[in-house]
């Protein structure tokens, strides 16, 4: 049967951007590790490995439980296992792109040759965490889908406490990625402990064997779970779809936007946009804050002007793209239909976009304390220019990928800009 192609998105371009991003992140992490005191490196490497592995189970959650174009593909007659197999192929691509992070860390050996042994160990821990997070994440999510299809199980109920958060039927899906990540970090944590106690024991051979063992374990578990879940997938995907279609349906209290988001006079239009946005993405301002915190931590003291400018640029571009996302939100069309004047609508979108980016912008102020004002200002201007450039990109996916690319460029620049003066 010929594969169904239901999207015009430029997937190769997106994957190339992600690969580039992973390399940039790897270089930045390598820089962080190389500049750390040698006795602290095992702990730092473990934290970096956890950070690098975190997106995989979360991405898998989205990919496996709400596969792209699932309804259209089901309508056209594609069976659920084949639909999931397609998603798993995409997940494998993500994993391969993710493995460019440890490769980027290895590339940092050329910049900091004295730390190359520790960089090798750090890269191996990161690769181990990525392999296990992908394999265990897949297995845990398929197991959770099977549980959803077959009804509540004693094991999940005891682990999740009955799943009070979200639709009860879908509760296992919410916990599966977290369990997978914790399980994936156990072997790297053990190796990190060995490294901290007696570094000589952690030879390249030991690391290679651990990696191979982890890869085999992860894939065997995932394949076994795929086979077992196969008969239940259709029913599970329908249950998830139903849970997504009915958010807040049984709730008497619908979430309201936080007050800090709408300072000043009451504004019906702003309130409407904020209400819809916060119900759809309740953690969006928190994501911004966390991303920015990460950026500010990466800048470190004393911040290099080039690195600071690039971080500022990425935050500005991210904020701008968020405003674009607000414009694509269905509430935008609804407000226009209800009679909101277009100029007021534009102003409200801009104001809400700035409000949502406020945590990012205020945290950027922390960066100012350690660096140059001019660098931050120039960076912000560059970010806005990049954001404006986004408007001309052909697909929403590319528009979303651009801020990520900016962040990676920032990471790579931090590594490169500081390599000359770094003393390991």
């Amino acid at each position: 049967m010929l594969p169904l192609r239901l999207t015009r998105a430029a997937a190769p371009v997106t994957h190339a951007l992600l690969a580039l991003a992973a390399l940039g992140v790897g270089l930045a992490l390598g820089r962080v590790l190389a500049l750390e005191a040698p006795r602290l490196r095992p702990d730092v490497a473990l934290r970096l490995a956890a950070l690098a592995a975190l997106p995989l189970p979360l991405g898998l959650l989205r990919l496996l439980t709400t596969p792209p174009h699932a309804a259209a593909r089901r309508f056209l007659g594609e069976p659920a296992p084949e639909l999931l197999a397609r998603s798993l192929r995409t997940a494998l691509l993500w994993l391969l792109e993710g493995l460019l992070i440890p490769l980027g860390m290895l590339a940092a050996c050329r910049l900091w040759p004295d730390a190359s042994e520790d960089l090798l160990r750090g890269a191996a821990l990161t690769a181990l965490a990525l392999l296990l997070a992908a394999g265990l994440g897949t297995a845990a999510l398929l197991l959770a889908l099977r549980t959803v299809a077959r009804g509540p199980s004693g094991l999940w109920s005891s682990l999740t406490g009955g799943g009070a958060f979200g639709p009860a039927a879908a509760a296992p899906l919410l916990y599966a990625p977290a369990f997978a990540l914790v399980a994936a970090l156990v072997p790297p944590a053990l190796l990190s402990a060995v490294w901290g106690a007696k570094a000589a024991l952690l030879t390249p051979q030991v690391l290679l064997l651990s990696l191979l063992g982890a890869a085999v374990l992860a894939f065997v578990l995932a394949l076994k779970e795929i086979e077992q879940a196969r008969p239940h997938l259709q029913e599970a995907l329908l249950a998830v779809e139903e849970a997504h279609a009915m958010p807040f349906a049984q709730s008497d209290q619908l979430p309201e936007p936080p007050r800090w988001l709408m300072p000043g006079q009451p504004n019906a239009l702003l309130h409407l946009l904020a209400r819809s946005w916060m119900r759809d993405r309740p953690g969006s301002w928190l994501t911004t804050a966390l991303l920015t915190l990460l950026a500010v931590v990466l800048v470190r003291r004393p911040a290099e002007p080039l690195a600071l400018a690039l971080v500022a640029a990425s935050i500005a571009a991210y904020s701008f793209v968020r405003v674009l996302a607000l414009e694509r939100d269905p509430v935008h069309a609804a407000a226009f239909w209800l009679g909101a004047p277009p100029p007021d609508l534009q102003r409200a979108v801009l104001r809400l976009g700035l409000g949502l980016s406020l945590p990012a912008l205020s945290l950027l102020a922390l960066g100012l304390l350690t660096g140059s004002l001019l660098a931050v200002l120039l960076g912000c201007l560059a970010g806005l220019a990049i954001g404006l450039g986004c408007l001309r990109l052909p697909t929403p996916r590319l528009r979303s990928a651009l801020p990520l690319l900016c962040l990676c460029a920032a990471g790579a620049a931090i590594a490169l800009a500081s390599s000359a003066g770094a003393t390991p």
């Binding site: 958010p247 609804a334 239909w337």
Partner: protein, 241 residues
């Protein structure tokens, strides 16, 4: 026609090389219900979208209550409400929240009792505080109709308002249309239903190849004496079937 609420002249609209509206003229009187009929793809929805300012005409002019849609788009749009087949409601907001926003944006007083009355008429009172996403397709469509009837505008454009409605809701909708007409509102409906047309229409237009092929006034419609089959034959003949 003196002082029409809507005056459209020489409207043209193409989708690529396909001509959908070909120099169409249309006047609508205040307090009159006009139904546009025609086969699928005849241009009914396109006509309504162009008249609502939702789609730009390639040529021609539209004036709503003497306000030009081209020269004063905001003033003209403020005098009408257009309900598409899939109205753009915000999925995570409730019907009550939509109603509050509609009144605020249009500078109207909040009318909770009127909202309750309209929602009860279309059997939506029990879901006033549920997000639109939690409603069925038919209920979401009725929610948009409630909002349209709540808006105090002199012109309503409804694209297939009976589609997906149960029998009781369809009857309630007819009553609401008649009530609006009696208050002086002009309504332009796109529909395929002969019986519903005969029940509420003061005028019926049949579109064919982007032009009005048949224009029946109130007297001509009364001439059918409620005979839906006879009316359907007349419409089919105008459509060239």
């Amino acid at each position: 026609m003196s002082d029409p609420i809507l005056c459209a002249r020489a409207l043209r609209k193409n989708y690529g090389t396909q001509e959908v509206l070909r120099g169409l003229d249309l006047d609508l009187a205040r307090g009159e219900v006009t139904v546009v009929l025609g086969e699928n793809g005849a241009g009914k929805s396109t006509l309504l979208r162009v008249l609502a300012g939702d789609l730009r005409a390639d040529a021609g002019s539209v004036a709503i209550d003497a306000k030009s849609l081209q020269a004063e788009p905001e003033a003209a749009r403020g005098r009408l409400i257009y309900v598409a087949q899939h109205p753009p409601l915000a999925p995570l907001l409730t019907l009550r929240e939509h109603a509050q926003a509609l009144n605020a944006f249009r500078g109207l007083a909040q009318k909770p009792q009127e909202l309750q009355r309209l929602a009860s008429a279309l059997r939506l009172a029990h879901v006033l505080d549920k997000p639109i996403r939690a409603l069925s397709g038919g209920m979401a469509h009725k929610a948009a109709l409630v909002l349209a009837f709540l808006a105090d505008v002199p012109l309503m454009l409804l694209d297939e308002p009976h589609a997906g409605l149960d029998v009781r809701s369809a009857l309630a909708l007819r009553a609401l249309i008649v009530e609006k007409r009696e208050r002086g509102t002009a309504l332009l409906l796109a529909s395929h239903l002969a019986e519903a047309t005969l029940a509420v229409a003061d005028r019926a237009l049949v579109l064919r190849q982007g032009q009005v092929a048949l224009d029946l006034d109130a007297q001509a419609l009364r001439g059918f004496g409620g005979d839906a089959r006879g009316f359907e034959h007349a419409v089919l003949a105008a459509m060239g079937a």
